[in-house]
Symmetry: C2
Subunit: 250 residues, 2 copies
Amino acid sequence: MSAARGTLYLVPMPLGSGDLHACLPQDALATVARLTRFIAEDARTARRVLTKLPLDTPIRDVEFGELNEHTRPADLAGLLTPLLAGTDVGLVSEAGCPVIADPGAAVVALAHEHGIRVAPLIGPSAVLLALMGSGLSGQAFRFHGYLPVDPQARRQRIVAIEQDSARSDCTHLFIETPYRNDQMLGSLLECCQPSTRLSVCVDLTLPTEAIVTRAIVDWRNSPRPDLDRRPAVFVLAAPRPTGPARRTRR
Amino acid sequence: MSAARGTLYLVPMPLGSGDLHACLPQDALATVARLTRFIAEDARTARRVLTKLPLDTPIRDVEFGELNEHTRPADLAGLLTPLLAGTDVGLVSEAGCPVIADPGAAVVALAHEHGIRVAPLIGPSAVLLALMGSGLSGQAFRFHGYLPVDPQARRQRIVAIEQDSARSDCTHLFIETPYRNDQMLGSLLECCQPSTRLSVCVDLTLPTEAIVTRAIVDWRNSPRPDLDRRPAVFVLAAPRPTGPARRTRR
């Protein structure tokens, strides 16, 4: 790594309407305040969040590069030009941590190839907060992103997930587009075994945050929470056929 | 949920010698400062970290319950007694996030069963920071905790992990006890395909933080970093036989 190169900081952003001040530790906020250049999925959204910080540089002078589905592989290198010239850059997500269920890995990978230092900052991740809050085991876990939309393919995937969870003592997590949350919950209650535990975590870090963990049999017998259009993470763990066992060895 | 009950806050702790002030957002620090009771794996360590915060209650009056491998299932309920009586409690980890590769899930699960509100706080997680910093895909990932110690079993597991990564476009993460890091790296370089990408992330959030991502072939041809006795996360992704593909559907 060359001392003349900038550092690529990975900057988590608030979940939903959360405030950046409430989301990042003081040191991370101070790092972000010093930056003059960012890479964002959507420059306008990023500007709106960052404008609330007391940045050292007036926001109108802060520069933004965009990395999203319209970015061609050939344009990736251009995003790194300021870093190669010695300027620190912040890669921000739309919500939560860059890279985690978010684009951004490509530019981080390219930074490594160029020997640019990469520094991830501490901040909110819906996936991680859901796993912590669920009460399901965090000794081993798998995050799937989105499951298939097609009902038949989705049911098959849910059954495969449940079987893997029982076999390998692994907790599984996945997300859904908020307007399909109710359908997802319906599929889970239809397909899963009664003793499988399911946690539904909505509006994490927001004042309306709710984390509900129950066995499928209890979900079936309880009124369903209102999930419509609320960002949700689903967390699932099936009991091992032979009873619980500690996976950890030290 | 009853309004008379306390809230169980899940409090991440610094990684290694890090400072709690540098690790938690202001709001989380303010929440922790108000607490008078904690559940910790080791009360002495937790007290040492918390004593640096300006807690509202003198640290000698703060009460600690312990949750570790000596805790019998019958004692778990006792840890919830203050919550049932209306006192907020903080569940702290030894390092990083409670529940994630850490005990604590049992008490969170019991809290849900008693209708106690569970509130995970934002803070550092070595697993998440490693995944962000690695530059490997975070669209889908699996965390294994520790791999087997036995060399033959470990090799088999590494091969299985690599095959799963190639098949399902899933990034895999695992940890090792710090004095065995070099052996782990040795096993990975021995077993994996040349094009598989491996990131080794040590001392995350500390001044000595280092994140190195290379293809196995390049790892084999480069001097190895010093990993001995440094907390490390290993991140591995094998290329799909048919080339990269976006897993995400929106």
